[in-house]
């Protein structure tokens, strides 16, 4: 079957690839473009491990039809770190031992980034709601919530 050309912005850089019919965005990111940060968990939009930001809003890449991202902006955990170092969320997760097996962590980070980008000073309840769609099977939710609140209090970075 014919592939469809797709051009979009991935973590601030232009990305161009050809996608199979009905391919999901997660497969395109991981297999097509080598960005292994979003994870395949359930494949049915239940676990949140594949969460990425599309035009700043959290989306589940495993149930996103890849060709629908033409011209849009995609952010993954791979794009969080910059020349200044780890993103405050990454630093807070590391400092606060907010990862056990780590499989849910990229999805948690992106769900948290979507929250902090929109609401820099969330309440604990708002943090819990923001990660409600992200399953941690190690059940380490409390350190994750604490880390997101810690990151929210960290000094703002520019850019």
């Amino acid at each position: 079957m014919a592939k469809t050309p797709v051009t979009f912005t991935l973590n601030g850089r232009e990305a161009a690839t050809f996608v199979d019919p009905a391919a999901n965005l997660l497969d395109v990111l991981r297999r097509g473009l080598g960005d292994l940060s979003p994870k395949y968990g359930c494949g049915q939009g239940t676990c949140g491990a594949c969460t990425v930001l599309i035009d700043g809003e959290p989306h589940l890449s495993c149930v996103t039809l890849a060709e629908t991202i033409e011209g849009r902006t995609v952010e993954t955990t791979n794009g969080l770190q910059d020349s200044a170092g780890l993103h405050p969320l990454q630093q807070a997760f590391m400092d606060g031992f907010a990862a056990q097996c780590g499989y849910c962590t990229p999805g948690m980070l992106m769900a948290a980034k979507a929250l902090l980008d929109r609401n820099p000073s969330p309440s604990r309840e708002e943090v819990i709601d923001a990660i409600a769609g992200n399953v941690c099977r190690c059940t380490g939710y409390e350190p994750i919530v604490d880390a997101i609140l810690t990151a929210a209090r960290a000094p703002r970075r520019t850019g």
Partner: protein, 262 residues
Amino acid sequence: MPSVATYATLAEAASAMTPTSRFLAGGTLVMRDVNYGDQGFDRIVRVPDPALKAITPDSGRISIGAGVTMAGILASRDLDFLWPAARAVGGPAIRSMATVGGNLFAPHPYGDLTTALLALDGVVHLSDSGQVPLDQFLVNRAGLVRSVSVIRPAGDAFRFHKVSRVKPKGASVLTIAAWLNRSAGRLSNVRIAYGAFAATPVRVTAVERALEGASLDQAGIAPALQAATDGLAPVDDALASGWYRAEIAPVYLRRVLLGEVR
């Protein structure tokens, strides 16, 4: 893998649908089936028409485009009465994707928003300009949906509550939506709907009849609680047995009617 066909308008897409085509809106249902190798369809049809995201107030009602997402509902002040129902659907990522039109087709136990639309006298507007009451639409769930129009409830006349075992996000054991229209202090033409109770969200007509002319207090709603499951066959699933659903229905119906839960 299925092929993907993109059309400019819903009318074009409707004429191009085949028995083995699936219409893709937000993707949360169709792409899940693609990932799991569903062989029941070989073609995905989509219409990225911004007109399907329109929200249009019209006197006492409001029309919600089939492509409006749960996040779109939460961003609309005109739809504030639906915020509790939209928040009940998934987490933020699902809410960025899942659409009003898609929710009408969501299999049991999903369809929390549809339950709310059912209680608000939902009318489904189809691609061919035809329209059908939502309760009739849910019998066959056929056709491409352009929009759903609902009543804009006044004050606290609309109540919604989702019962789930997992907090803050979990699939529904029972969802109750109630439009408590009142006339001269008495309930009149109320509409009650249950979600996750039967195969699709359903109106509870026995309760509606029992509430006609009643006062909204403990004594007034007693006959309605007696009729809480009349005419319905609650389903068993992995979340709860039909017996359990039938047991909790009058309890939560009372709480919803008396405003003890929101």
